[in-house]
Subunit: 577 residues, 2 copies
C-alpha cells in the first residue's frame, strides 16, 4: 500500500470492489437508513438542536468516514452520549433555540474533527488509553440514566431544564402540573410498544418460522413503525391542537456546505468539551470497530480511526451538522445485515439525503414524545449494572474510580464526571505502583526455586537477605524500596549481603537508579554488600549506560540460585517454615 | 515502644541518655551554632525577611524537632531553597519590608507545619514520592542559580527585584549605574575568601598536620570569620556612611510565642506554596536523614519525619519565624562533629538563643554583601551539572522532565518549575508504561527457556503464537495489547492458539481484565483459542474473583514449556534464526 492509501483506505478497498459486494452493501445501507432516520431526529432533539441537524449529521460525515476510516463496517452518525455532551457543553455558552446555539454545535463538530485529525496525524491515539474501562463504563451508565431522566419531560409534555440529576428531578416535579395527557398517552404507548418489539418480537417472529437474523433486523425497524403510526395518529386526531408538542416544520433540502461563523472566544470555551467528546467518541468507536473487525480477521488502525472520525466531524462542521461518532447498535446492525465495505456508509448517506429531500414534510406532525421514547429505550440499554457489580467484585480501586465517575456525572455534570474519574484512576494506579509487592525469599528445599518466606517453608541465611520486588522501579516507588531495605537491615544484625531479585523489574528509571546507588552506598557504610540477580536484558542495557555496575559493592548474578551458592557458607543456612 | 514513644521519639532516646553522649552532643552543637548564626541571618535576607526572623527560626523549631523527629542527627533550621520559595510565594501577596510580609511568612510556616503533621498522622508520606529525583535535582540546581543571581544585587550594593532569571538580569542591568564600590569590594573579597576556605583551607590544614575531620570542621567556621572581619572593617572605616548597605539594628531579646494574625484569604493564597514547600523540604530532609542514619544502621520513619518537621514548622509559626527544614550541609557537620542524639539540636537552639540575646548589637554593622557572598558560595554548591549529564546519558525521558523543571524554574517561576516537572514526569511514566515492551517468543533449542524470536534462534510453530508482555496490565496499556494481538493475528493465517506469557505481569486491573475478555472473545470469533502461562500467584488470586478463568477458550499453563508441549504437534515446529 502506498502512503496515500494508508491515509485513505478507500483507495485500497475501492480497487477491488465487485458487484456482489455492491448488492450486500446496498441491502445493509437500506436497513441502517431505516434505523437512522428516527435516531438522527431523536438525538438532534437530545442535543437541543432542530431535527434537520440530526439528518445533516447523517449525510456528509458518513461519506467522509467511508473515505478515511479504517473499519469496514462502522456506522458513523449521531449517538446518544455525544449528543448529551453536546447539549451540556453548548448549553453553557448559548441558549437552546438560538442561532448561537446552532453555530456553537456545528463549531464543536469542527473543533472536535480538527483535534481528532491532529491526534491521528501525530499518532496520539494512546491518549485515549487514559480513559480506563471502569471510567468509560461508569460514564456511559450514568449518561444513560441522565439522558433517560432528561427525556421524561417530553413524555409528559412539559417544559423543564437541568443538566444534573437533581436539577432534572426538581424541574420535572416543579412542572408536573402542566402535564399533557395526550402526550403522555403517546409517549407511554410508544415506550410500551418499543419494549415489546425489543424483548418479545424477535422470539415471536422466530417462532413463526423466520430465521433469527432477518427477525433481528425487522425488530430494528420498530422505531420507524412507531414514528409512522404516531404521525398518522397526530394527523387524524389533530393532536397538535390538543397541545402535543410536535417536531414541526423541517426545512426541505440539503445543507449548504460552508464554514460556521468562527468566534475565537467560542473556540476557547468549546476546546475542553471538544477534547472530551473526541476522546470518548473515539474510544467507543474503536472498541466497536475492533470487535466487528475481529469477527472477519480484519484490522483496525487506531490512529487511522482518529483521522476517519476526525474527517467525519469536520464534514459535520462544514455541513451544518453536529458531533458524530461510530454508533454501537447501528454498527452491529450494519455488520449483521451484511455490509462488506464502507461503501455501505455512502449508500446510507444517499438514503438519508433522499429522506431529507422527500420525507421531511411528513415529519412535521411527529410527536416529540415518540422520539423521547425511542431515546429512552436506546439509552437504558446502555445502563450496565452488571458491569458495576463485576468491577466491585474484582477490584475496589477500580470500583472507586467507577463510582466517582457515576456520581460525578449524575450530580456534578458530564464533563466533571469524566475528569474526576480519570484523575482518580490515575492517582489510584500511581498509589498502587508506589507501594509494590515485595517479598523476602528463600530457597525451596531440593529445588533452585526461591519463594516468599512468609508463604513457604524455605531455606534462608542470617547473613544474606534476598528481596524480590514485584514491580518496575520508578520514582514513585523507589523511596519505598529504600525504606523497606533500611527497615529489613536494621532488624538483622548479622547481615552481610543484600540481594535484590530483579526478575519482575521491567524498567529502572533515573530516580530508581539513584536510589539503588543510595542503597548501595548506605549498605556499604554499614559494611553490607549489595547484589542484583536475574536482571532482564533491556534493564541491564540501560544500567550499562550508568556507572552503577562499576560502583556496586556486590555482583550481578545471572540467577538467584547462583547468588545464594556463592554468598552463603552452607553451615549458616537455617530452615524456616 | 509504646504508642506515645512512637509519636515522640525523645521518650525513647531520652531514657538512655548518658554523660558521654551529653559531651558529644554539646561539642557538635557548638560547631553547628557557629555555622548557623551567619546562615540564619543570610537565609532570612534571602527570604526577604529581617535578620532576627532567621534567628527566631533557629530556636524553637530545633527544640520541636528534637522532641518529635526520628533522625538522630538532622540539623533543622532555615535553608536556601525553602527561603527562596518563601520569598517568591510571600512576595506575591505582600510587599517586602511590610508588616503583612512578615505575618505571611510566619503564617506560611504554620500552614506548612499543619500540613506536614496532617500528612504524617494520615501516613501520607508517599505523596512526596511523586517528586522524582531528576525533578528535585533539576529544581535544586535551578534554585541555586536563581538564588545566586538574585544575590548579585547585594554584592553590587544596588536595589533590584525579580523572581525569574530574565527579571533578575534586567533588574541588575537597569540599576548597574548605582553600583557602590565599597560594597562590591567587601562582597568580592568575602566571596574570594570563602572560596579559598572551601577549596584550599582543608588540604592546607591537613598538610600542617591537622586531622581531616577537625580540618573539615574548622573550614565550616569560614563564614563566621568573614562576618566578624567585615563587621570590624565597617565599624573602623565607617563604611555605613559610604553607602554600604548594612543589616542594621536587630531587636535584642527572644521572640514572644503567639499565633500570627490569621487571615482566611491569606491562608487560601498560601496553601499551594505551603504544600510545595512542605513536600520539597520533606524530601530533602528525609534523604539527608536516611543517608546519615544508614551510616550507623539507625532507622528513619518517614511518616514520623513528617510529624517532626511539621512540629518544627508549627514552632516557627508560633515564634515569629518562617519555614524551616533539615539542612544538608549543617546535618553533615552535626554528624561529623559527633552528635549522637537530637539533644544536640536543643543545645544548638540554646546557642542561638544566647546569640540573639548577646550578639545582636554587634551585628548591626554587618554588611549585606557579606551575607550575600555566603549565600552564593553555599548555593552554587547545590548546582549539579554532573547530575544533569548523568541523567542525559541514562534516560532521555528523565532528562526531559529535568530540563523542563530547570527551564520552568528559571524562566517561569519556582512553583511553576516544580509543577511542570512533576506533571511531565508523571505523563512520561504513563506514556512509557502505556507502550510496554512485548516480545513474540520461541523455545531455545535443547532448553525449556523461551526467548524473543527477534534476538535469538528459537523454535516456533505457525499454529501457536507466544507473546510475552514485560509490564503489568492496566488501563493505559491494555488497548495497546489488544491492537498488538489483533495485528499479530491478522498476519498469521494458520494460527490456532495464542499464549500470553504472564511472567512479568505483576497486576491486572479491571480494564485489563475486560481487554483480556475482549481478546478472548475476538480470538474465539476467529476460531483461535487464547491461553495464559506462568501467571503469578497474586494475579491468579485476583482473576479467580472474576469469571475469566471459566470463560477463557484455552487453558492456564504453569509454564510456557508445558503450554507449547500440549499445543504443538511436533511436525509443525519450525526453526527460526
Amino acid at each position: 500500500m502506498t502512503r496515500l492509501a494508508n491515509l485513505m483506505p478507500i483507495l485500497d478497498w475501492g480497487r477491488h470492489y465487485r458487484r456482489t459486494t455492491l448488492t450486500n452493501d446496498i441491502i445493509a445501507a437500506l436497513i441502517v437508513t431505516t434505523m437512522l432516520i428516527p435516531q438522527s431526529l431523536a438525538y438532534a432533539m437530545l442535543a437541543g438542536l432542530p431535527a434537520e441537524v440530526g439528518l445533516y449529521a447523517s449525510i456528509l460525515p458518513l461519506v467522509a468516514y467511508a473515505i478515511f476510516g479504517s473499519s469496514r463496517t462502522l456506522a458513523v452518525g449521531p449517538v446518544a452520549v455525544v449528543s448529551l455532551m453536546t447539549a451540556t457543553s453548548v448549553g453553557e455558552i448559548a441558549a437552546q433555540g438560538t442561532e448561537a446555539y446552532l453555530v456553537a454545535a456545528t463549531l464543536l463538530a469542527l473543533i472536535s474533527g480538527a483535534m481528532l485529525v491532529g491526534m491521528g496525524l501525530m499518532k496520539l491515539g494512546f491518549v485515549a488509553n487514559f480513559l480506563s474501562h471502569p471510567v468509560i463504563s461508569g460514564f456511559i451508565t450514568a449518561s444513560g440514566l441522565l439522558i433517560a431522566a432528561g427525556q421524561m419531560k417530553h413524555l409528559l409534555g412539559i417544559q423543564a431544564g437541568g443538566h444534573t440529576l437533581p436539577e432534572i428531578a426538581s424541574g420535572l416535579i416543579g412542572n408536573l402540573h402542566a402535564m399533557n395527557l395526550p402526550t403522555l398517552t403517546i409517549g407511554a404507548g410508544v415506550l410500551a410498544f418499543l419494549y415489546f418489539v425489543r424483548l418479545k418480537l424477535r422470539p415471536l417472529l422466530v417462532s413463526f418460522g423466520l430465521k433469527p437474523r432477518p427477525a433481528e433486523v425487522i425488530t430494528k425497524a420498530g422505531p420507524v413503525l412507531a414514528v409512522a403510526t404516531t404521525i398518522l395518529a397526530v394527523t387524524l386526531l389533530d393532536l397538535g391542537a390538543a397541545g402535543v408538542p410536535l417536531v414541526g416544520a423541517i426545512p426541505r433540502g440539503l445543507p449548504v456546505p460552508g464554514l460556521p461563523a468562527i468566534d475565537p472566544d467560542m473556540i476557547v470555551a468549546l476546546a475542553g468539551p471538544a477534547l472530551l467528546i473526541s476522546l470518548i467518541g473515539f474510544v467507543e468507536s474503536v472498541s466497536v470497530a475492533q470487535t466487528l473487525a475481529a469477527k472477519r480477521r480484519q484490522r483496525i488502525v487506531p490512529d487511522q480511526e482518529l483521522i476517519g472520525l476526525g474527517a467525519a466531524n469536520i464534514a459535520a462542521g462544514l455541513s451544518a451538522g453536529y458531533p458524530v461518532t461510530g454508533g454501537f447498535a447501528r454498527s452491529v446492525v450494519n455488520f449483521d445485515a451484511g455490509a462488506e465495505t464502507p461503501a455501505a456508509g455512502i449508500f446510507t448517506a444517499i438514503g438519508i439525503a433522499l429522506a431529507t429531500l422527500l420525507l421531511t414534510p411528513l415529519l412535521a406532525n411527529l410527536p416529540q414524545a415518540t422520539l423521547a421514547a425511542t431515546i429512552i429505550v436506546a439509552v437504558l440499554s446502555l445502563v450496565n449494572i452488571e458491569a458495576i457489580r463485576r468491577v466491585w467484585a474484582y477490584s475496589r480501586a477500580d470500583f472507586a474510580a467507577m463510582a466517582a465517575t457515576i456520581l460525578g456525572t449524575l450530580f456534578v455534570g458530564v464533563e466533571a464526571g469524566v475528569v474526576i474519574g480519570v484523575a482518580l484512576s490515575l492517582l489510584l494506579h500511581l498509589y498502587r505502583t508506589s507501594r509494590p509487592h515485595m517479598a523476602v525469599v528463600g530457597r525451596v528445599p531440593g529445588t533452585e526455586h526461591f519463594r516468599n518466606v512468609e508463604r513457604h517453608a524455605v531455606i534462608t541465611s542470617p547473613e544474606v537477605l534476598s528481596l524480590r520486588v514485584d514491580e518496575s522501579l520508578y520514582f514513585a516507588n523507589t523511596r519505598y524500596l529504600e525504606d523497606r531495605i533500611a527497615a529489613l537491615v536494621a532488624e538483622r544484625p548479622e547481615l552481610k549481603h543484600v540481594v535484590l531479585l530483579c526478575s519482575a523489574i521491567n524498567a529502572i528509571d533515573a530516580s530508581a537508579l539513584e536510589s539503588l546507588e543510595e542503597i548501595n552506598h548506605r549498605l556499604k557504610d554499614a559494611g553490607i554488600s549489595f547484589h542484583l540477580s536475574e536482571v532482564k536484558g533491556p534493564v541491564m542495557d540501560r544500567l550499562k549506560r550508568s556507572s552503577y555496575l562499576e560502583d556496586i559493592t556486590g555482583q550481578v548474578f545471572l540467577s538467584q540460585h547462583e547468588a545464594m551458592c556463592q554468598l552463603t557458607s552452607s553451615s549458616r543456612l537455617t530452615s524456616r517454615a
